[in-house]
Amino acid sequence: MSAYATETLFNEAADWNLFDVNVRVGPSGIHGELTLDTPELLEEMDRFFIREAVASHWTAEEYDVPLGNAALAEVAQARLTPAWAALPDTDLAPLKPKAVRLTPGGNQHNFSMARWCSGPLFDYLDAHSVLTLIARNDIDWSELDRLLESYPRLPVVLLDTGYRADRYLFPLLEKHRNLYFDSATYLAHRQLEAFVETHGPDRVLFGTRLPLYTPAASLGVLATARIRDDARLAIAGGNLRRLLAD
């Protein structure tokens, strides 16, 4: 086998039981060239030893929540935990959700997460401890602070945090025990390693941003971080499995 084969380069990751929190599936009107259908997505996950993923559907994000959720229901399978979409008036109970991915931004589903607008939605998510994924571009820091304060049992995962956010992120992590973030864009020099040294491994979840980004980037960071093996395993999937089981 070539020294450049992915299996050779990342062979240790085969034992990490990787669980990716940041994946989308289906067609996209914006990213058509990069999108993956379910078999293609699973193939790409296999290539990087990713066993499972929390996946949302582009159709829900870019177009219509019920239509997107129906499409997601069709592709959900053992390796893909659905991250359902929701609007303030969406009745989630029939879906028995373990995870949701909300896109409240002004150019997407365009709603406020404040209680006066989305109270019943977040009451449900909070009561059932549904893992709630929100991308950084869809929420400002003060709104996130209010959300975490209003719903302290709600596990919130900030996606696509970027590498420049530590001066906002660290105070919120210290203030709110229910805040987590994904590693897909946490990519400054030795940033993940330094975070684990100062904050421990429990608040970071492995993410790739598939199908837009190659898993090689965030997997490369995780593989080369000089951290303890138990910390690496927690980030790789242990933290996410714990949150979904709670």
């Binding site: 450049y4 420049r164 990519l187 020099h189 090689a216 980037a217 997997l219 490369g220 080369t224």
Partner: protein
């Protein structure tokens, strides 16, 4: 994950940055990461020079090169403002390397790469067969990739590295289009957006021989761009050109 081949890294820095905390950015920490990933040499530009003070920043690079001549190469970072200072800096630090390695950061210096203050600097690069690393960004009015073909055709002896290749998917497309139209334009790969398929597209349209690995160390995480290259669906020989031989040839050929 470790590179099977010793890497010559065309894009690195020395120093800290403005808008987020720096960690482990000392030369000794950089060397530890370089050893871990098999980066033999890293060409650095001073962040102090990129942000604020080119003369003092270049002096820091000079000191680094004296301490670690086998592990680092030095770009002379040039600010087009005030006019005249840049040429003075290029003469002052010409002992860094021959042909010279020159860094322009039109984004941070907020001056268009096509502006008159850059003209004598480009002429110097042409006369000395310099390798010029320029920060680029998708459609940026100071350093958008499509600004470079006209420059490159006027200075055919200089080798221009499009730093970050425009960063975004669209920025990469602009960089590919630019490189297709001028043989002395090269694509450099470091950046925080790690799109699937983009490197394959670069190799297909521009050719592996005009693509260079850069890490952006210690600004960005070197292992992410290394992971992108190592796992791309391109030939192993293409990976080796990108990781080592293309930069080696540029350094030795003029």
């Amino acid at each position: 994950m470790r590179s099977p081949i010793p890497i010559l890294d065309s894009h690195g820095h020395l120093g800290t940055h403005v808008d987020f905390p720096s960690v482990k950015q000392s030369p000794d920490e950089m060397l530890a990461v370089m050893d871990h990933l098999n980066i033999e040499k890293l060409a650095v530009t001073s962040l102090l020079a990129c942000y604020n003070d080119a003369p003092h920043g270049n002096a820091q690079v000079d000191e680094l090169l004296r301490r670690h001549p086998d592990r680092f190469l030095g770009y002379i970072t040039v600010n087009p403002n005030p006019p005249g200072e840049g040429l003075h800096e290029l003469e002052r630090w010409k002992h860094f390397h021959s042909p010279p390695l020159i860094k322009f950061h039109p984004g941070l210096h907020k001056y268009p790469v096509t502006g008159p203050n850059y003209k004598p600097l480009w002429d110097y690069a042409n006369q000395t067969h310099a390798i010029v690393l320029v920060h680029t960004w998708d459609s940026d009015p100071n350093c958008g990739p499509l600004m470079f073909p006209a420059i490159a055709r006027q200075i055919p002896n200089a080798r221009i590295l499009l730093g970050h290749s425009g960063v975004t998917w669209r920025g990469y497309m602009q960089s590919i289009e630019a490189a297709e139209s001028a043989p002395n334009l090269f694509l450099e790969l470091c950046g925080s957006q790690n799109h699937r398929l983009i490197l394959e597209k670069c190799v297909d349209r521009v050719g592996a021989e005009r693509i260079l690995f850069g890490s952006d160390l210690p600004f960005l995480e070197a292992s992410m761009t290394l992971g992108r290259v190592l796992t791309a669906r391109i030939a192993d020989a293409a990976k080796e050109r990108i990781l080592r031989y293309n930069f080696l040839e540029l350094l030795e050929r003029y």
